[in-house]
Each structure stands twice: as structure tokens, then as C-alpha cells.
């Protein structure tokens, strides 16, 4: 998987372009957003106009500004959760796969059970227990994706564990920690990339769902899922702009990650599930 190779793939290029747009929105929100996202800056419930290109919500706040600032929460939660689950899942997968034995069997069984359970429902339960906050939502989402890393990494470890070069390292008397980190980890990094790209699209949708249920931010913090939830009451009066833009952003960002994932799995030839 050479770098030049990666950017030539149409899926990855398109997906990355979408993601980069949102990352730029999040980083430069202060510059890009024309108004404050939390203050009333116009008449309520106005349709899109030159002053407010995405209209205003029921409190007269500029929806475009809320969408721009909202990208921060989504990206932060998803980045944190992916990093957490990748770290924990990979670590446990490496240890469990390398050591084997009873520990491995118990861990595999527990992970398989979590994996079989509907991920959104598990994330909801965890978020409720931890209390609603962006960090707790990230932890909840992370827990849900740990088994995916665990399963994939453990499988990879099992397949390289008995190769000659690992045996040689063992014969040389290298400590297990060194063997795992220096000799096995490089072999599973590609798998990590595949799982990573696959999970992120899903993580966006899970984050949006948690927000939709009110388990991430508190008002008036802008967040796509939560704004969609609050906007839904106005949809039947034909006030479509309250929900259309946050909804579109969620799907677009998830699509960006899904395209990258599609491209990565095409290049590496790895098929998950």
C-alpha cells in the first residue's frame, strides 16, 4: 500500500476530500461561521436567505454557523473513540492472540458476545450509565468497536505467530513484549488501517444517534444529531431547513469515511465479515 497508490484511488480521493472539508470547517469555525452559533442573530424560523444561507432555527440562531461549529463535536468524539478503541482493541488482541490459552478463550468469548449485540443499543446503555457528555459518549462508542479490532488483530496474530521469524526471536530469548511490539505489530498494522477506516463511518452514525437521543452535548452547544432532534418538531410545518442541513452533514461525513474504507479494502484486498 504505497502512498501514491492510495491517493490515485478514486474512492479514497473523494472520501478524503469530503473529510478534509469538514476538518477545515471544524478548525476554522471561528473564521468561517458568520455568526455566533449560540446567540439569537435574526428572526426565528426564517428560510434560507442571503443573510442566513441555511436559514434560522426556532430561537433565531444561524443554522449555517451551528452546522459549522457542530462539526467540531462530531469529529472530536469520533476521533477520540476511534483512537481509544483502536488502542485497547489492538493491545488486547495482540496479547490474547500471542499468549493464547484460557485467557484467550475467555476474552474471545466475551468479545464475540459484545460483537453480536446491537452496537447502538450497547452504546446507549453505556452513555446512560456514564452520564451524558461528549467524552463519555466517546468512551461508549469506543467500547462498542473494541471487539472489531480484537477479532481482526487476534486473527492476524494467530496467522503469523508460528512463522519462522517469530520462532527465531523466541529461540533467541527475546522477551514476549519485544516480540509482540517489534515483530508482530508491524504485520497487523495494515489490518488496523482497514478496521479503522471501516469503523469510522459507523462511529459517525453512532455519535449522531447518541446525540439525537440527547446523550452527548447539553444545549445550547451546537451538534448535528441534537439539532436534528430539536428541528424535527418543525418539519411537519414545512420548516425543512431546521433538520435538512444537520442531517445532510451527518450523512455526507459518514459517506466520506465509507468511501475511504471502500477504497482501502479494495487496495488491500481485505474483506471484513
Amino acid at each position: 500500500m504505497r502512498l501514491a497508490h492510495v491517493f490515485r484511488d478514486a474512492y479514497i480521493a473523494t472520501g478524503l476530500a469530503i473529510i478534509i472539508v469538514f476538518v477545515v470547517l471544524a478548525l476554522l469555525a471561528d473564521v468561517i461561521a458568520p455568526y455566533s452559533p449560540v446567540e439569537s442573530v435574526g428572526a426565528p424560523l426564517r428560510p434560507p436567505s442571503p443573510e442566513h444561507i441555511m436559514g434560522t432555527d426556532n430561537l433565531g440562531r444561524d443554522i449555517f454557523s451551528r452546522v459549522v461549529y457542530g462539526s467540531r463535536i462530531v469529529l472530536a468524539i469520533v476521533a477520540l473513540s476511534i483512537a481509544l478503541s483502536g488502542f485497547v482493541g489492538t493491545l488486547v488482541g495482540l496479547v490474547s492472540g500471542y499468549l493464547g490459552g484460557l485467557l484467550d478463550r475467555v476474552l474471545s468469548f466475551v468479545m464475540d458476545s459484545i460483537y453480536a449485540f446491537p452496537s447502538l443499543i450497547l452504546a446507549i446503555a453505556l452513555s446512560v450509565a456514564l452520564g451524558p457528555s461528549p467524552v463519555n459518549a466517546a468512551v461508549a462508542i469506543a467500547v462498542v468497536y473494541v471487539p472489531t479490532y480484537f477479532r481482526m488483530i487476534r486473527g492476524q496474530v494467530l496467522s503469523v505467530k508460528n512463522e519462522g521469524f517469530i520462532e527465531q526471536a523466541r529461540v533467541l530469548g527475546l522477551p514476549p513484549s519485544r516480540i509482540v511490539v517489534r515483530h508482530i505489530l508491524p504485520h497487523v498494522s495494515r489490518t488496523m488501517m482497514v478496521v479503522f477506516s471501516m469503523n469510522s463511518a459507523d462511529a459517525i452514525l453512532t455519535e449522531a444517534a447518541l446525540s439525537f437521543i440527547g446523550l452527548t452535548v447539553q444545549p445550547p452547544t451546537p451538534d448535528w444529531g441534537f439539532d436534528l432532534y430539536k428541528g424535527r418538531g418543525f418539519v411537519l410545518d414545512g420548516k425543512w431547513w431546521l433538520m435538512a442541513y444537520p442531517g445532510l452533514c451527518i450523512t455526507l461525513l459518514a459517506l466520506g469515511f465509507a468511501l475511504v474504507s471502500e477504497g482501502v479494502s479494495r487496495i488491500t484486498g481485505a474483506r471484513l465479515r
Binding site: 464475540d112 449485540f117 446491537p118 443499543i121 450509565a129 418539519v235 445532510l248
Partner: protein
């Protein structure tokens, strides 16, 4: 006899899975939040005696390990405890009310997604157009990442708000002489030969089941297209063609082979389906256990949340059992 034994063995194997999920749920909802009563009330300013009384009423005053076993034993007997928020309301009867609604929605959604997935595959097989296939693939990827509430609200906007041809939410209008038997209204209407109730229930189902069905149809489309590619380039198809069998008939025969993996995949769709059902129900005010769960989450009704999540755990176990058995029945390579 062989099959019965297979079912029995598979059946026992799901017990540890359910136990692990139960333990997990117990840790998450009974131990993590500290005192669930205080968490539910959202305040620490209540008299000590009152708190103790509530805890005793809900059985939360006993040591944790006793609660762990007692809850499980009660649950298996169908007693899911009392709601923490709506005092004196048994959770089991709430869930019995809501479960048929969720069942009805999910079954119709699976039907919709099968029609979309299999239909797309069939169309691509028949036309054999590269553009159509590329379009179908993109469509499959896009529907997979659609955020359910956004799609649901968009459909409501068009069909309920502008066109006014479909109801916005709920399951049925009040219809004279219609008494639900099973709680699955479309089935009940058929059993009672009540066409008005059937049409009414169906009109309430259209938008939610299309929303959920469309979103879960993504994997079906992909699966159908991938299998199609493999089957259409197989020697079997070459053999059909070389015997001069006309193309439509070849497609018809080949398509049977495309269907088998799709049937087995339906079981794996389950996780996606249940998560999707929670969001779909909330969007359309569909009174199933998904909406119930979200309601309880908003009130931090821990006992009710615990019961709903355990119900899901049981459904997970049951579905995996059914999938195993169906798989054993249609795939001759599986021995039982």
C-alpha cells in the same frame, strides 16, 4: 432426531452468551452509575429514609451479588421489576405491549430491504449494463451511511406534510370493531378480515418500513451484486449457454444461487436492524420497544432500561440460534 439434537446443543450454547451480556448490562447499569435512584432523581437532596424506602421497594438495597442472581431468576420467570419513574408499573407489561410493534416494523423492513436488494441484483443481471451496476453499487454504499432520522424526517416532509397522503406517525387510526389479538396489527386485521384496518395499519407502516428497509438494504445490494458476478462467470452458466438456453432463462436459473447467501445473511443483519429500529421508531413515534428505550433513557429509568437491553440480549441469542438452524437446513455441508 439429528436436527433436534443439533437445536438442543446450539440452544445450550447461547446460554453463556446471554449470561455474559447480562453480566455486562448489570455492571454497566447497576454498578457504574453509583446509586441509580439518585441518578434517576437527578438530585442528592432527598431524605435518607425516603431514599432507603425507594431502594427497598425496587430491591436495590440488597448486596449486589444477591441482586445479580435474584434479578436473573425473576427475569426468567417473566418478572422484570418495577419502573423507577412510573412507580408501581411493572416493566414486563410495558414490554409485552411494545414488543409486537417492533416485531411488525422489523419484519416489514426486512421485506422491503429484500425486495430492494434482490430486485436490484435481478435488474442488473437481466440488463447487464455496466452503468446500472455502477449505479447500484454507489446506491448500496450511500444508503448504508444514511442517517435514519434524517431520511425518515425527509420522507415525512414529502409524503405527510406536502402531499398529505400518508400519516406522520403512530401505528393505526381508531377503527371501529378492530380489536388487536396478537398486537401485530397487519396480521390482526387479516385474521379479523377487516380490510379497512389492514389498509390503515399498512399506511402507517409504509414510511417507517421504507426508511429502515432502505438503510439496511445496502449490504443486500452489495451481496447480491458480488454473488451475481461470481455465479454469472461460473462454469454452470457457461454450460447453460453452450446448450443454447436463452439468456432470460439462464438468468432465472443462476439467480437461485445468488439468493442462498442472502437468506443466511439476514441473520447477520440483526445488529444493524435493531439499532436502526430504535432510531426509526423514535423518528416516527412508533410505539415499540425502541421508542420505549429512548423514553426511559430520557427519564434515566434504570430498571426499565436494564430490562429492555436484556430483552435485546435474549433476542440476539434466539436469532443466532435460528440462523444456525436455517443454515444447517439449507446448506448440505453443515452436519448435524
Amino acid at each position: 432426531m439429528g436436527l433436534l439434537r443439533y437445536v438442543a446443543i446450539r440452544g445450550t450454547l447461547i446460554i453463556p452468551t446471554i449470561l455474559i451480556l447480562y453480566t455486562l448490562v448489570f455492571i454497566v447499569l447497576r454498578i457504574l452509575p453509583g446509586n441509580p435512584v439518585l441518578a434517576a432523581l437527578g438530585t442528592k437532596n432527598i431524605p435518607e429514609e425516603q431514599l432507603k424506602a425507594i431502594m427497598a421497594e425496587l430491591g436495590l438495597d440488597k448486596p449486589l451479588y444477591i441482586q445479580y442472581f435474584e434479578y436473573l431468576a425473576n427475569f426468567l420467570r417473566g418478572d422484570m421489576g418495577m419502573s423507577m419513574v412510573v412507580r408501581g408499573r411493572p416493566i414486563a407489561s410495558d414490554i409485552a405491549d411494545k414488543l409486537p410493534a417492533t416485531l411488525e416494523l422489523t419484519v416489514w423492513s426486512i421485506l422491503v430491504s429484500l425486495v430492494i436488494g434482490v430486485g436490484t441484483g435481478y435488474l442488473v443481471a437481466k440488463r447487464r449494463s455496466r452503468y446500472l451496476e455502477a449505479f447500484a453499487r454507489v446506491f448500496g454504499s450511500v444508503v448504508f451511511v444514511v442517517f435514519i432520522p434524517a431520511l425518515g424526517l425527509a420522507l415525512q416532509l414529502v409524503f405527510s406534510s406536502y402531499l398529505k397522503i400518508l400519516p406522520t406517525g403512530g401505528r393505526i387510526s381508531s377503527i371501529e370493531g378492530f380489536k388487536p389479538i396478537t398486537g401485530i396489527y397487519t396480521l390482526d386485521a387479516l385474521l379479523e378480515l377487516n380490510p379497512r384496518a389492514f389498509v390503515d395499519a399498512l399506511s402507517h407502516l409504509v414510511l417507517p418500513s421504507i426508511t429502515l428497509g432502505l438503510v439496511i438494504s445496502g449490504p443486500y445490494i452489495r451481496l447480491a451484486l458480488n454473488n451475481l458476478e461470481a455465479v454469472m462467470s461460473s462454469k454452470m452458466v457457461d454450460a447453460y449457454r453452450s446448450r443454447g438456453i436463452r439468456e432470460p432463462k439462464v438468468v432465472r436459473h443462476a439467480f437461485k444461487h445468488v439468493l442462498i447467501p442472502i437468506v443466511t445473511y439476514t441473520g447477520l443483519q440483526f445488529s444493524l436492524l435493531m439499532g436502526g429500529a430504535v432510531l426509526t421508531e423514535t423518528t416516527f413515534n412508533w410505539p415499540g420497544i425502541g421508542t420505549y428505550l429512548v423514553d426511559k433513557v430520557m427519564y434515566r429509568d434504570y430498571t426499565a432500561i436494564q430490562a429492555v437491553i436484556l430483552i435485546f440480549a435474549f433476542i440476539v441469542g434466539l436469532t443466532s440460534l435460528i440462523v444456525d438452524v436455517v443454515y444447517a437446513l439449507i446448506d448440505p455441508r453443515v452436519r448435524y
